[in-house]
């Protein structure tokens, strides 16, 4: 049986390749701002992901070629790698990628069947299990004045130790963490934001990383790889929720602008929440999905037990997708708003 209609030129591989390409500005900014460690993380994650994907495909009796070449495993690996602290130890990266590919993707039935975003499952597993390692961020070059060389990074990542002083020199809490700490120390937002890590828009360095992700996201949007609904709704959810809190008590809650320019928000808006497999599919559903993820992100950031809430927000909304899709079925051709016309 052949379906006669000729398929167009687009393919899953092309879509995934575009997503990878659109991540390049972000990666470049990452290297520029935090040093070359991210390249090691990316490489390790990619190798692990492809190996795990191949092993799972073989175990499940699927052919390797079409599925490995669809690049979806590489996309998952890159997204997870970019969410991790740049100096995360190798076993952390491997554990996260395995959780993403083996558990979140293949145990749920492989590409297209995973109800949760694999990269975010990997992230969630890591932050729940190893919160201490997950909060060791490298400080931006602009503040630390020095960054680890590729060699030093490799040594650190693959289990070697570095002198404590050297490590302390390059690591610092993320702006989000710092804000949270400051607020808990009864400092107001303004006082906290006077600390050196905060720049004009978000965190020093971090804000430029966010901008780089924005550039990649806009490329994807221009290429019609992603729609406008999810990113816009997600950002709207962030701004609205953060804005409401900020408006209610500017001294206790960070400004929407600050949240807006967190790199995790940009990455999530354009690359993670837009994952079609685990996201909503109807036009209105996409808006609800994005908006809900945005609001939840702020809620979890503000009151949750972990520093960032993007991963949990997206996983929670993933859970709600079947419900959202079912309740937002669009009007079909020839159907009136209130339902079908009675048959004549």
């Amino acid at each position: 049986m052949t379906d006669t209609s000729a398929p167009g030129r687009d393919s899953v591989t092309r879509i995934m390749a575009w997503v990878l390409g659109a991540l390049v500005p972000g990666i470049a900014a990452h290297v520029w701002l935090f040093g070359p460690a991210i390249l090691i993380t990316l490489a390790l994650a990619t190798v692990t992901a492809v190996a795990a994907e191949a092993a799972m495909l073989r175990a499940r009796g699927y052919p390797l070629r079409p599925f490995l070449f669809d690049l979806s495993a590489v996309v998952t690996a890159w997204l997870l790698a970019l969410s991790l602290p740049p100096l995360a130890p190798w076993w952390l990266i491997v554990t996260g990628v395995l959780a993403a590919i083996v558990v979140a993707k293949h145990l749920y039935g492989g590409l297209g069947q995973n109800i949760f975003n694999p990269a975010m499952v990997g992230y969630a597993v890591l932050i729940v299990s190893f919160p201490a390692q997950m909060t060791q961020w490298a400080g931006p070059l602009e503040l630390t004045g020095t960054s680890l060389t590729l060699n030093e990074s490799a040594t650190l990542i693959f289990g070697g130790e570095l002198p404590r002083a050297r490590l302390d020199a390059v690591t610092m809490a993320t702006p989000l963490d710092t804000l949270r700490t400051g607020l808990l120390q009864q400092l107001t937002v303004d006082e906290t934001l006077r600390q050196p890590i905060f720049g004009t828009l978000g965190g020093v360095g971090f804000e430029w990383l966010a901008v780089a992700f924005w550039v990649g996201g806009l490329i994807l949007w221009a290429r019609r790889i992603i729609g406008w609904q999810v990113p816009m709704a997600f950002l709207a959810g962030i701004v609205l929720a953060a804005g409401l809190l900020h408006f209610a008590d500017a001294g206790r809650y960070g400004s929407p602008l600050f949240h807006f320019f967190a790199p995790s928000v940009a990455l999530a808006a354009f690359f993670i929440a837009t994952d079609p497999v685990s996201g909503a599919t109807t036009p209105r559903g996409k808006l609800i999905f994005g908006f809900g993820a945005g609001v939840l992100t702020i809620v979890i950031r503000t009151w949750g037990g972990f520093p960032d809430g993007v991963a949990f927000a997206i996983l929670l909304m993933n859970l709600a997708v079947p419900l959202i899709d079912q309740t937002t079925q669009p009007r079909i051709y020839g159907e009136t708003r209130t339902g079908r016309e009675p048959r004549a």
Binding site: M1, T2, D3, T4, S5, A6, P7, G8, D10, S11, V12, R14, I15, P66, F67, D70, S72, G110, L111, G112, Q113, G227, P276, V277, G279, T281, T282, D325, Q329, P330, R331, I332, Y333, G334, E335, T336, R340, E341, R343, A344
Partner: protein, 573 residues
């Protein structure tokens, strides 16, 4: 001229491949040696053959009559001899055989008498019956009997008539060249349609990638005594779909589950209008049509083809080439794969598209759906194809129906854009026919349940009646026995005393007895009659009665046949 146009949702822009075939003039294909004419060429009941093997027929002669309202007659496409009335493989995706009338042509092409109709003088209902008997059916692809569509319903008026010159499928150009060369006939057909439907406005929608057709139609429109607006519409696939054309031209959508006439609009393909004009003004039944032969052939072009001509004949005329991998009837988006290239051209055959590896490379292996919703973006029926696919694949047909599977027009846009190369439409066709099959099964089960329950009820009733009868019989027997005994006793004791009255009484008694015997015999005969009367005939519906009648007729024939050889045997020696 600045008519406001509306953009329907969805659609795609595949390369149109029109230039290959639309530049050449229309060629009349020669009449083949043998015509294979299926009786099932349209939607609705198949036509019933009215010719037998051995009959000679003339061009345009009725060979199968329309059966019921939604049906259309079938005619001999050329003169010759009927050599078979038997199942042959049809131009259908199933490759299954169905009843066809096979005619060996005599090459003379002698027509039956053709009588033009004065449509203005005829009552509309009569004219429609006439059109049905002339085999008129839509040539746009759905092959719906035109007579039905030309009925404007109880209101007897359909304000807007649209002629659909939107030929959006790639490769196909038969409507394009028809409009270029026969614009006047099309307009004459439109006039008849306008008359039958009581339309006040006539629009012709033609895509802007057919400038020659637009010009020709505009010229023809200018020559008419009524206003016809020829509108250039954007070339978007499937803009030539009736519902899409209506939305493009009027901005209105046909309500789901309703007909376009419910909102006062009727749409006809330009080819149908042309055929209608030929039928009414020239008395020619539908025995030929234009067919685009294109794709992997040397000279892609359009032919005027008699219905029943084998497709291979046309492919040979257009120049057969090495490396053909298959034949499609229709375009690449909605066309059907033909079981072989020798199946006949039917009323639905607008295009014969010869495939090759270069023109139609095998699609890459399908990957799982990633729910990217590109299919939803292009779906002109505004469905959620990815969900329909999921349900159809999982066999969850109830949900598929909830998500409006039956509103899918199988246009193939979703398959065209799917980055995972999933043959989506194949899943929808599978889902639809599964649902139909299940409904058939359900109806059959309901019928069986009903009949079984009725039988249980009948058996129960019969048992009760039988018991009552037996009881009555037993009572009678007892009474008889008592009487006999009384009699036996009476004569013994009182024989002489009754002797004299006995003579008198004997006369009446004897008469009574005789009467009783006759009555009993009558009753027996009646009972016998009742017994031999067909059983189970009380609850028959007309169809069942008809089925039985047919069986009886066949039996009579068999009996006759069985007798005949005997007779001949007795005669011969």
């Amino acid at each position: 001229m600045a008519r406001e146009l509306f953009r329907f949702k969805g659609g795609v822009h595949p390369p149109d491949h029109k230039a290959e075939s639309n530049a050449r003039p229309i060629h009349a294909a020669p009449i083949p040696r043998q015509l294979v004419i299926p009786v099932r060429q349209h939607i609705g009941n198949p036509a019933k053959p009215v010719v037998d093997v051995g009959d000679t027929v003339r061009t345009g002669q009725l060979i199968a009559a329309a059966d019921g309202t939604i049906s259309a007659a079938v005619h001999a496409s050329s003169s010759g001899t009927v050599v078979a009335v038997e199942p042959r493989v049809l131009p259908h995706a199933s490759g299954l055989p169905d009843l066809c009338i096979v005619i060996d042509t005599d090459g003379r092409d002698e027509w039956v008498e053709r009588t033009p109709l004065d449509y203005r003088a005829m009552p509309a209902a009569d004219l429609r019956m006439k059109l049905r008997d002339m085999g008129l059916a839509g040539l746009g692809g759905a092959v719906f009997p035109s007579a039905v569509k030309l009925d404007a319903g109880p209101a007897q008026i359909c304000p807007l008539l649209i002629l659909n010159g939107g030929e959006c499928e790639p490769w196909i150009t038969c409507d394009d060249v028809l409009m270029r060369h026969h614009a006047d006939d099309i307009m004459r057909g439109a006039a008849i349609m306008r008359h039958l439907l009581g339309s006040t406005e006539v629009l012709v929608g033609i895509e802007d990638n057919k400038p020659e057709a637009l010009a020709a139609m505009r010229e023809a429109a200018a020559r008419l005594e009524f206003a016809v607006e020829v509108v250039a519409v954007p070339s978007v696939y499937p803009g030539g779909g009736a519902k899409q054309m209506i939305e493009t031209l009027t901005g209105r959508q046909v309500p789901s589950g309703k007909l376009s006439t419910d909102i006062g609009i009727q749409v006809f393909n330009v080819g149908t209008a042309h055929a209608l004009a030929r039928a009414v003004l020239h008395g020619e039944p539908m025995i030929e049509r234009l067919v685009t032969v294109t794709g992997h052939v040397l000279r892609p072009q359009n032919f005027r083809v008699r219905i029943g001509t084998p497709m291979q004949t046309l492919i040979d005329l257009a120049g057969d080439r090495e490396g053909a991998t298959g034949v499609l009837m229709g375009g690449p988006m909605m066309g059907l794969v033909m079981p072989n290239s020798h199946v006949p051209v039917v009323k639905a055959t607008n295009c014969i598209l010869v495939q090759s590896r270069e023109l139609f490379p095998a699609p890459p292996a399908a990957l799982p759906c990633i729910r990217c919703t590109r299919c939803a973006d292009v779906c002109p029926a505004e469905l959620q194809p990815q969900e329909l696919f999921r349900f159809a694949k999982a066999g969850d047909f109830g949900r598929a129906q909830e998500y409006h599977l039956f509103d899918c027009i199988e246009c193939g846009c979703c398959t065209y854009v799917c980055p995972s190369h999933i043959p989506l439409v194949a899943y929808y066709r599978y889902g639809k026919s599964e649902i139909w099959a299940r409904e058939r099964e359900k109806r059959a089960a309901d019928l069986a349940r009903e009949r079984h329950e009725f039988r249980q009820f009948r058996l129960e009733r019969e048992k009760v009646e039988k018991a009552a009868k037996l009881a009555a019989k037993a009572a009678a027997a007892r009474a008889q026995a008592a009487q006999d005994q009384a009699r036996r006793v009476a004569p013994a004791t009182d024989a002489p005393a009754t002797a004299t009255p006995d003579a008198a009484a004997g006369g009446t008694g004897e008469a009574d007895a005789k009467k009783a015997i006759i009555a009993a015999a009558l009753a027996r005969a009646q009972a016998k009659k009742a017994q031999s009367a067909p059983k189970n005939t009380g609850q028959l519906s007309p169809e069942q009665q008809r089925a039985i009648d047919e069986i009886e007729a066949r039996r009579a024939k068999i009996r006759e046949l069985a007798r005949k050889p005997l007779e001949s045997e007795t005669e011969n020696p």
